[in-house]
């Protein structure tokens, strides 16, 4: 088995880390292991290592062999290989496919849970509320409950009226 990092020497250090229900494995030669501080358990975290590795291959796959570049910032997959960092927020769209595997393997879940910026939350609430009212309106019309329908129409008008201050696209 060859070392995951240098891909030259035989791997003699085998690491396994289990996080949640996922298992990560990595095989290194002695020199690369030393260089990455694997022998010093205090400074070692598998995620740091994993990032520099499989990730670039994934991105390569996403690019379908061609040099995919971010239209916004010009960042290419080879650049990720070098730094393990992306070019700009837009890159997450550009390289979405390749990143998916990487994100799933290093993170708990590929769906954000937790804090949401207030202005986006307002927008999201607005959309949810509107959808719910429109559904009710539709039902009322179907049931020929026009009094109710008129009420709902006014409500929708009110909701749409002055759009929330910060509506983002």
């Amino acid at each position: 088995m060859l070392c995951h990092i240098c891909k030259e020497k035989t791997a003699t250090v085998h690491l396994t880390q289990i996080t949640g229900d996922k298992m990560h494995k990595i095989d290194l030669c002695e020199e690369c292991a030393k260089e990455k501080g694997v022998n010093d358990p205090s400074g070692f975290s598998l995620a740091d290592l994993l990032l520099g590795l499989g990730a670039s291959q994934e991105l390569e796959q996403a690019a379908g062999g061609t040099t995919l570049k971010c239209p916004k910032c010009g960042f290419a997959q080879v650049d990720f290989k070098k730094s393990g960092r992306l070019g700009c927020p837009e890159c997450y769209q550009t390289f979405a496919e390749g990143l998916e595997v990487l994100i799933k393997s290093t993170q708990k879940r590929a769906q954000h849970k937790g804090k949401v910026p207030e202005r986006l939350r307002a927008q999201r609430n607005f959309e949810l509320q509107l959808a719910s009212l429109q559904k009710k309106l539709h039902k009322a019309v179907e049931a020929e409950d026009f009094e109710q329908a008129a009420q709902l129409r006014d409500e929708i008008k009110r909701l749409k009226g002055p759009l929330p201050a910060a509506t983002v696209k």
Binding site: G20, P89, H112
Partner: protein, 371 residues
């Protein structure tokens, strides 16, 4: 603004106390944030970084928490001052290496520090003494909420806050505590603890974070994953693990005293002997020996007044702090001499450790005792 005048002198800052600070030296929560319109600092060219800095810095300065803050661009800071900030844990090593296009804002009281254009546009951190993770999260959360009214953050419904490195996606949160664990190290139980903490998806690192060694028996424990779990869940999970590590450390100390008291006294006595008498000593050796003296204070082999001296020396004997008190640029060798001079001088009022016959010093181990 002059950094020396802004930062609280070490002789004062060592008086900052927090719960469980016998073992938990400090609690830190940092958030990674980026603005939507702009390449990440590592990819952006200098004019772009300058533009982003000009957008972000005034926004931070205008926050009520930042009244009387220290705010500076990194190119305006002397290399020595940057190193001082690293030794005080107010900026990362990576940020200290930055120059034009990066900036720094620290609040009065030094509980909040915002790095601009480090790896991300914003690294907002709250730092509290002792075990106060929850408080640190609340503080940093409030600052972040105020800031999002002024800045258009890069955020996706699926991936949360977008960051330069995919390991910080989602919440962008890194919750960490700095732990002093001499008992577990002496009892040779530290490696199994690190392994099991790793298995829980938490990282254990050295004194200065990523890729640094555990000097002075000081370890940083932090969450690894940032996406798919809410901030409060992460905070609570870390709190639980920390409570267990604290218990293990207390147990290790108690067991050591019970079974290997001579070994412990020998380590502490030797540490004192060298620190109080050496004429040349490296920063690394100093840290490791001061750690043992700190343990000695907690085991009541030294009076509690020695605790403040030890904590102060922990910071003052580090390279940049040592250099700061001297005009000439010091070589590493010269620093080792000066460090030893400082240690001998400062430790003069501290008598050698008192070991009561039969090892009845275990009074200091009462778990319920407040430090």
């Amino acid at each position: 603004m002059n950094l020396d005048e802004f930062l609280e002198p070490v002789s004062k800052s060592v008086h900052r106390k927090g719960p469980h600070d016998r073992i938990v030296l400090s609690s830190r929560v940092r958030l990674a944030r980026n603005i939507r319109d702009g390449a990440f600092p590592g990819w952006a060219k200098k004019p772009e970084r300058m533009r982003v800095l000009e957008i972000i810095r005034p926004a931070i300065e205008s926050l009520p928490e930042m009244k009387g803050a220290f705010s500076e661009t990194m190119d305006n800071l002397e290399p020595l001052d940057k190193q001082i900030l690293v030794e005080r844990h107010l900026v990362s090593r990576e940020h200290a290496a930055k120059s034009a296009g990066s900036g720094l804002v620290i609040n009065f009281g030094e509980t909040l520090a915002v790095m601009i254009n480090e790896e991300d546009h914003l690294r907002i951190q709250a730092l509290h003494p002792g075990l106060q993770i929850r408080q640190a999260w609340q503080l940093v959360d409030r600052l972040d909420s105020e800031l999002e009214e002024k800045l258009d953050y890069a955020f996706s419904n699926q991936l949360g806050y977008l960051t330069a490195c995919p390991t910080n996606l989602g919440t962008g949160i890194r919750v960490s505590a700095m732990l002093h664990l001499p008992g577990l190290v002496l009892a040779e139980q530290i490696n199994p603890i690190i392994t099991s903490v790793n298995k829980l998806g938490l990282a254990v690192r050295g004194l200065y974070g990523e890729g640094t060694e555990a000097l002075g028996n000081i370890f940083q424990v932090s969450n690894q994953m940032t996406l798919g779990e809410s901030e409060t869940d992460i905070v609570e999970r870390l709190e639980k693990v920390l409570a267990q590590i604290i218990e293990h450390e207390e147990n290790a100390r108690a067991t050591l005293l019970e079974r290997k008291a001579k070994v412990v006294y020998n380590h502490i006595g030797r540490a004192y002997g060298i620190l109080a008498n050496a004429h040349s000593i490296s920063s690394k050796e100093t840290m490791n020996l001061l750690s043992l003296m700190r343990l000695g204070v907690e085991l009541r082999l030294f009076p509690s007044s020695a605790g403040l001296i030890v904590d102060e020396l922990f910071i003052l004997t580090q390279p940049a702090h040592l250099q700061k008190s001297h005009v000439d640029k010091l070589s590493a060798e010269a620093r080792d001499l000066l460090r030893a001079d400082m240690l001998r001088e400062q430790l003069r009022p501290v008598n050698r450790p008192i070991i009561k016959p039969g090892g009845t010093n275990s009074a200091g181990l009462d778990k319920n005792e407040k430090a």
